[in-house]
Amino acid sequence: MMPEERIRVDAKLDRLEEIIGFVEDCADRFRLEDSRKFGLNIAVEEAVVNICSYAYPDTEGMLDVACRVTDESLVIELSDSGIPFNILTLPDPETDAAIEDREIGGLGGYFIRQFSDAVSYTRRDGMNVLTLLFRRGASIELP
């Protein structure tokens, strides 16, 4: 197993580009297919946006991003010390609603589930820990 790499940044949207660059470098080492990097980018962006908004609604805090690359999988772990918040408990949006009825938002958790191969949340040592897993060769399912 290759060593874990991690970065710690302010949980702010203006750090998004840096975070995405970091996970894409990890994906390159893992040799994740280019066609799947798009989904990796989306899943990580949605996770970061939600952490900024809901784990730290009124405060500022840190976000740790860790990448672990094994033969079989790329694991991205996002942890923050904000208030308990599990994006995976949010209901899926109604993807067949018309524009008048379509709710603003709600797609983030759905995209995380759709674009990763496995995702889990745990509250550990006072931190929210969201773990995203990607495998090579897997593909997203289109409706």
């Binding site: 962006e45 970061v48 524009i99 379509r102 603003i104 759905y110 995209f111 997203i140 289109l142």
Partner: protein, 112 residues
């Protein structure tokens, strides 16, 4: 994110270039809001050079789309391809906005 704007008789064609993510999506909303403030209400959004869109980008599209609808205007999407198209399919956004393969085809529809 960059824009190329072309005013045609039936609509204003807005080409969105680059990435529509949580950081850049507000630029799109602001751009469209500015044009609506100046009286434009018919838009063709050309996504031929859009590399990436996340839920924040879709949200910006939805917000501006609702305002266009309230103005009695048109918002047609054109040239959506690749992974961006997958995002539209997964989110169900492909059925919210009329989508055209080319700007020409969208302009034809806007003229009707």
């Amino acid at each position: 994110m960059e824009f190329q704007i072309q005013k045609e008789t039936a609509a204003t064609v807005v080409a969105v270039i680059g990435r529509m993510d949580a950081v850049t999506a507000p630029e799109y909303e602001k751009k469209l809001a500015g044009m609506m403030d100046e009286g434009e209400k018919n838009f063709i959004i050309d996504f031929g050079k859009l590399d990436y869109i996340s839920s924040a980008g879709l949200r910006a599209l939805l917000m501006t789309g609702k305002r266009v609808k309230n103005l009695g205007g048109l918002m047609l999407l054109a040239n959506i391809g690749g992974a961006v198209k997958d995002v539209f399919a997964i989110s169900g956004f492909g059925t919210i906005f009329p989508m055209h393969d080319t700007v020409q085809s969208a302009l034809g529809a806007a003229e009707e």
